[in-house]
């Protein structure tokens, strides 16, 4: 299909606004008479609340009101279960969702206990010290395995243990593999917690217009429409009385779709109570425990293979840390369970997990959303198998790839979208070949690595594969309108957090309507502009909203051609739509502009044909029958300093297949950012909790995000295997960069330090951790080092 805009690295429509400081973020909303909220947050990870006394705070000058759980009356309700568990036969799930303000008990450090409303945030913060919170501390549950031991402190009374869920999914019969297995490898693999650390923290501003009976809420949410619907229900308003605006947002990454955060429930209610605009902006300290986190899992995994490296089966039993509450259901551990299978043919699979409550911040999806863990387990098992069987690491992967003829491939287990895990399409070997060629895999191993080693340099190479289930339903919508100016307005319901929606969606529409990309004005994230939709998550914006844009644009294109045909007295086949006008193929001087057509479609006087609809406008929806499967190969060369255990990345190659590419420049930005988060996850970022559940590194001084100095420029290449499940043929790309990095790092570090025969079974790593793993052997390096000075 020849295209004009799709596939082009079109510069971003939104960048002028963003780069000149014109873009509206939630904290930019300043309203007359606005009040500011600071939260009193519990200082115990686990404890019984004996008393909350806010009287001193209430009498502090500048404080307008203080609300505790008691003050909320019937508005105090546990939050909704955002994602119910999928229909899996062997499944237990205990729903325990977060509360607006802690009432009887604190279940993680930093749970909000009271909201102080004052004339300024400074004054509100001053009043925090005035609120007396008496707590009877309880032993905290921090270790996810100990959480399940008999006698562990109980986080939710009314449950008999800290078990949040127990799920078994099975394909084939794992136990049948043993007679044919030449090798069985069993490992314990750990993945620890990190935080998304979006550049912009969360924030909510609410304004109640009593005269107009309208509530307006600016919210850093990835899902404005569901927030609108939920708020209307909670506040007893009609959905039409509530407008939720998700303006520009400085990064979402998943945690901004944890509906509902306590602050999202409280700020609009407070604005209605006080009849004044109210603002709360999360500070970075709060973000470390009041925003959701991810990634704590421990796997006991086993793989059985033939001597030539073919996988016979995999067994994986894991524990998943869901934090103090489980409002997001089982999305994360089910993603781990499903993504483990990767691009491989795994005939027999047994997967069992227990999700456990701990006295730690709530776990919901964060870029990758459990997929990291699955990839880490499978890729590590393959690495260990390759070593055991003396097969090259790339080769063992290639031998197990599903082949192009295997699609659609049904894995016979249930995915996060409740549908069976069926890969729509894929072509994995070319991506592996391309990545090996780009990084110079063979040459590095045969020539460069031995040469570097002779110079005393510990350089290593890694290469891993993964798939990512993307673009899940249920649906999104879009409305396309040609205006009398000849320009186009596109409205969709998803929120936008930096993905380039203002450009990628505009490209899709411009492609159909023959206008310039910059002439398509995109409106997202404002419930007044579009009424239906779910949100931006699960690498689905381009797939689901993008195809809705495409469908609406197709409908408008048909309207344009029909009307132009009537006016120009020509059949639609004779017409060309391009450059903002319609003309006759054989007589280009016979033409009419889109602006004129829009005006003709919306007459001010005279009669219209019965049954005709005004305007060049259409609304369309797209709901895929199931998600589509993106895939990729990452390769890396790094060097480990044998004395200090510091790691430097030399090269990082990504070959990615997300079907048809709408804008390669935006896609590369997504990959680069994802890899940066992956590198942080692999080697820098780790949330460290004390045994009492206190977070020991709740600031950027101690929580180490990788910076421009630590993240290399990613070398990209794309393979395009279009999805058959949507007209554009696109697949999601948002999470791809972050998913396999931990597995890749582990493999490359092992390779760099291979004479130590190291086995890395955990992420994140750090220089100190590598030092511990190598033990006394590091010290011997000192003896040889000085001669290299």
């Amino acid at each position: 299909m020849g295209t004009t805009y799709i596939g082009q690295p079109v510069l971003r429509n939104e960048d002028e606004r963003l780069l000149t400081g014109q873009a509206l973020f939630t904290d930019d909303v300043h309203l007359p008479g606005m009040l500011h909220v600071a939260f009193v947050r519990g200082e115990h990870a686990h404890g019984r609340i004996l008393k909350v006394d806010a009287s001193a705070a209430r009498s502090r000058p500048g404080v307008i009101a203080v609300f505790t759980a008691e003050d909320l009356g019937s508005y105090w309700q546990p939050g909704p279960l955002l994602v119910p568990p999928p229909p899996i036969e062997r499944l237990t799930f205990h729903q325990r969702t977060q509360v607006p303000l802690a009432k009887d008990k604190l279940r993680h450090y930093g749970e909000a206990v009271a909201a102080i409303v004052a004339e300024s945030r400074y004054l509100a913060e001053d009043a925090i010290a005035d609120v007396i919170v008496e707590v009877d501390p309880l032993d905290a549950v921090v270790d996810m395995e100990k959480a399940l031991e008999p006698g562990a402190p109980l986080i939710h009374e009314g449950l008999s243990s800290n078990l949040a869920a127990h799920v078994i999914q099975e394909k084939g019969d794992y136990h049948s593999v043993f007679p044919g297995a030449d090798v069985v490898i069993k490992k314990r693999l750990l993945y620890d917690r990190g935080t998304a650390a979006a550049m912009e923290n969360r924030g909510v501003v609410a304004q109640w217009d009593a005269a107009g009976q309208q509530l307006t809420v600016w919210d850093t949410t990835q899902a404005p429409i569901p927030i609108r619907n939920g708020l209307a229900r909670m506040l007893g308003l009609s959905e039409s009385q509530v407008r939720v605006v998700a303006p520009f947002i400085g990064g979402g990454f998943g945690p901004k779709i944890m509906m509902f955060y306590p602050e999202e429930v409280l700020i609009p209610w407070i604005a209605m109570q006080l009849k004044r605009p109210v603002k709360w902006i999360e500070d970075r300290w709060e973000n470390f425990f009041a925003t959701t986190q991810e990634r704590g899992q421990i796997h006991e995994a086993e793989i059985a293979l033939t001597a030539d490296g073919h996988i016979l089966g995999v067994k994986d039993v894991f524990v998943h840390d869901t934090g103090a509450y489980d409002p997001y259901g089982l999305t994360v551990p089910i993603n781990s369970q499903c993504t483990l299978l990767g691009p491989y043919n795994v005939p027999n699979y047994y997967s069992e997990f227990k999700a456990v409550f701990t006295n730690k911040p709530i776990v919901t999806p964060y870029r990758g959303a459990g997929r990291q863990h699955g990839v880490f387990v499978m890729e590590r098992l393959l690495d260990f198998a390759a070593k055991e069987l003396n097969i090259d690491r790339a080769e063992i992967r290639r031998r197990n790839y599903l082949s192009p003829g295997d699609f659609p491939h049904n894995h016979q287990i249930i995915y996060q979208d409740f549908a069976p895990l069926v890969y729509d399409s894929g072509n994995y070997a070319p991506a592996l070949d391309k990545a090996m060629e780009m990084i110079g895999y063979e040459k590095f191993i045969t020539e460069e690595q031995p040469r570097l080693r002779a110079e005393g340099k510990q350089a290593g190479i890694g290469i891993v594969s993964y798939v990512e289930g993307t673009g899940i339903g249920p649906y999104e919508g879009a409305r396309v309108t040609v205006e009398a100016s000849g320009k186009v307005c596109l409205a969709t319901g998803v929120g936008t957090q930096g993905q380039g929606h203002f450009t990628a969606f505009a490209q899709v529409v411009a492609e159909q309507l023959g206008v310039e990309v910059k002439d398509v004005r995109v409106v997202t994230g404002d419930t007044r502009e579009f009424n239906w939709g779910t949100g931006t998550f699960a690498s689905r914006g381009a797939v689901v909203a993008g195809n809705a844009c495409h469908a609406a644009a197709r409908m408008v294109r048909n309207k344009i051609l029909k009307l132009a045909g009537e006016i120009l007295q020509a059949s639609e086949e004779e017409l060309i739509l391009e450059g903002g006008r319609v003309y006759l193929r054989n007589a280009p001087q016979k033409a009419i502009t889109l602006g004129d057509l829009a005006a003709r479609a919306n007459p001010l006087r005279g009669a219209v044909k019965p049954g005709s609809e005004p305007g060049l406008e259409a609304t369309a929806y797209f709901g895929p029958e199931r998600g589509c499967t993106a895939s990729g190969v990452h390769a890396l060369i790094l060097e480990v300093d044998p004395l200090t255990m510091m790691v430097e990345i030399q090269r990082y190659v990504v070959v990615h297949d997300c079907g048809r590419v709408i804008n390669p420049m935006i896609l590369e930005g997504q990959i680069q950012g994802g890899v940066a988060q992956g590198i942080g996850n692999a080697f820098y970022e780790q949330l460290v909790f004390a045994p009492n559940g206190q977070l020991l590194n709740a600031s950027f001084m101690d929580y180490l995000l990788p910076t421009a100095s630590e993240v290399p420029n990613i070398e990209n290449a794309h393979i395009e295997t279009p999805s058959p499940l949507n007209p554009l043929g696109v697949k999601g790309a948002g999470e791809a960069g972050a998913i396999p990095t931990g597995a890749l790092f582990a493999q490359a570090i092992e390779n760099a330090l291979r004479e130590y025969d190291l086995e890395i079974c955990e992420i994140p790593l750090s220089p100190n951790r590598l030092f511990d793993l190598l033990g006394e052997r590091v010290k011997q390096n000192i003896e040889i080092s000085i001669s290299h000075e």
Partner: protein, 294 residues
Amino acid sequence: MTMKPAPFKYFTPASEEEVLALLTQHGYEAKLLAGGQSLIPTMNFRLAQPAVIIDLNRVSGLTYVRPGDSGGLCIGAMARQREGEYHPLFAERAPLIRETMPHVAHPQIRNRGTFGGSIAHADPAAELPAVMLALQARFKLRSREGEREIPAGDFFVGMFATAMQPEELLTEILIPPLPRRSGWAFKEVARRHGDYALAGAAAVVTLDEQERCREVRLVFLSVGDGPVEARQAVQELAGEIPGEEAIRAAAETAAAIDIDPGSDIHASAEFRRHLARVLAMQVLHQAFARARRA
């Protein structure tokens, strides 16, 4: 990020005399604001809640860098750290400081951060206190009572603690000249470029005409409550010809005996000791090589 320190009174004196008067008046209640790169974040976290801030940024006559006596260097307490990289006098008279500066946080921070601020803050993980100790710097302190000079060795007395009295102002840092046949080196290991180091080391050495150690100073950062001098290791080198074996042994002594590092979430005591040993070896090696060439 919301910036929300607790309430404080704010003064902007224009002269040293005004500063000294304010210090006399407010004493322990007051904090001096120099570059603000440590103080402001701790205030925004409300970890520090000083009642009074005395801003030094409008005080004239404290930002100079000028030649000192016989090859030394005088640094005004409010000279920005960035000067250490670009001012030619540092390259000429205090090359160790110049070599160290790129390790001090990031350029944006060095543009604001001052020499006096970092020294008076006495963060055990900061580079400048360790380097000052290695260079045997002297600090000029003024109060309304008068002026005194104190050697770096007596100045740093503990974690974030110095020998300064609450009514005193650090006005000048004096770097003495290095003798002939001297060498120097600085190295550190940080998780990310610009981070506080997991461990760091500075060495200043002088050789005699027979290539023997006349003087050696080895100072660590991030391995104790302040900059830590490796006294035992240095004694082992005194009078010796510093060959590889001697350097290795001294580094071993320094890491095993001279320091007592703590553990935190970034590095265990054992890892810090290991890094200290590696760094000691590297800085001594480099410093002696430079001295031999000098």
